[in-house]
């Protein structure tokens, strides 16, 4: 597998799994407007995943659905951050913000890539991510505004920070530390990143659910 395909799959798997995880709030988000907004963001992420899978699929001679649903667990290139199932709102927002912050750094780097196609798709994705970032930032402001909110955010960060570091490679990681510390107005522990390539236990359950329709209708489901 080429480095390019490997990169495309890491990006696509991150977006697909995060989209899936975020969509678990559909119907049970804290209030109706947030439910609609967060579900819409989840759909956007899955749309990005599709576009990225299509690029990888062309190189591999397959299609986006096959890459999204026919691979075994070990073949997923996702960062463990997006695999976690955390149906607690402060943790969900913390993960959302950490991911968006890391993703912004990654997309900025890709937009400057010599690979025109890759730079193009990064720019296209980034134009939608702008709104995801606005959404994440306003929630962070809200959490930072009260002692209770800050406490909950700190608790979530304690668990998620090593995972967030694992989204980026060694080269881009220091930028994430810089931006996160500046934004949160606190220092973050110098911990070992939870690396890409190993998987969280709950990914198996998610994979099972995600591939259910595909397995029941391998030739393609008709809706």
């Amino acid at each position: 597998m080429s480095d390019r395909v490997d990169l495309l799959l890491s990006l696509a798997d991150d977006e697909l799994l995060l989209g899936w995880r975020n969509s678990e709030w559909t119907g049970i988000a804290p209030f109706l407007e947030e439910d609609v907004a967060f579900s819409s963001i989840a759909q956007n992420e899955i749309g990005h995943a599709r576009a990225l899978y299509e690029l990888a699929a062309r190189e591999l001679g397959t299609d986006a659905d096959a890459l999204a649903f026919d691979r075994t667990l070990d073949e997923y290139r996702s960062a463990p951050l997006v695999e976690l199932r955390r149906l607690e709102w402060a943790r969900t927002i913390a993960r959302h913000w950490l991911y968006e912050t890391a993703d912004a750094i990654r997309l900025e780097a890709l937009k400057g890539s010599d690979d025109v196609e890759l730079a193009g798709i990064a720019a296209k994705i980034d134009r939608e991510e702008v709104y995801h970032r606005i959404h994440a930032e306003m929630w962070i402001d809200r959490l930072l505004a009260t002692d209770e909110g800050r406490g909950r955010l700190d608790e979530a960060l304690e668990e998620l920070w090593p995972y967030a570091l694992g989204v980026l490679d060694d080269e881009l990681r220091p930028e994430l530390v810089r931006r996160a510390e500046e934004r949160l107005g606190r220092s973050l522990p110098a911990v070992e990143p939870v690396p890409r390539g190993r998987h969280e236990a709950e990914l198996a359950e998610l994979h099972d659910e995600m591939t259910m329709v595909r397995r029941s209708a391998p030739a393609g489901a008709r809706w």
């Binding site: 209030f31 109706l32 407007e33 947030e34 609609v36 907004a37 819409s40 963001i41 709104y131 606005i134 959404h135 306003m138 809200r142």
Partner: protein, 106 residues
């Protein structure tokens, strides 16, 4: 803690803004994101207005004690008068038929 925002949307440039619905949000920033997702994510709008409901002045009383129909946009109702006129015309024809002089018949 939360406020209601009335959302107006415009389908395309040049059209009028129309009331789309309302949303509840903690503040204006949240309201903007929520309005964007609820009334713009399907490409159904090219512009949105957000108005805090508190900023809306409402008028809901319209006095018309003297029944000044001629000022209404629908004007006089002629349905009743037309009916009366038709009935009168019919009666006039009948009485002409019944008269011994025969009236003006072709």
């Amino acid at each position: 803690m939360t406020a209601v925002y009335e959302v107006f949307r415009r389908e395309r440039a040049g059209s009028a803004m129309q009331h789309a619905g309302s949303i509840v949000a903690p503040d204006e920033r949240f309201a903007e994101i929520y309005a964007r997702e609820q009334y713009g994510r399907r490409g159904e709008s090219d512009a949105l207005w957000l108005v805090p409901r508190d900023a809306v002045s409402e008028i809901d009383e319209f006095v018309d004690e003297f029944d000044l129909k001629y000022r209404r946009v629908d004007g006089y109702s002629i349905k009743e008068r037309l009916k009366e006129a038709r009935a009168a015309a019919e009666n006039a024809t009948r009485s002409a038929d019944a008269s011994p002089a025969g009236g003006r018949r072709p």
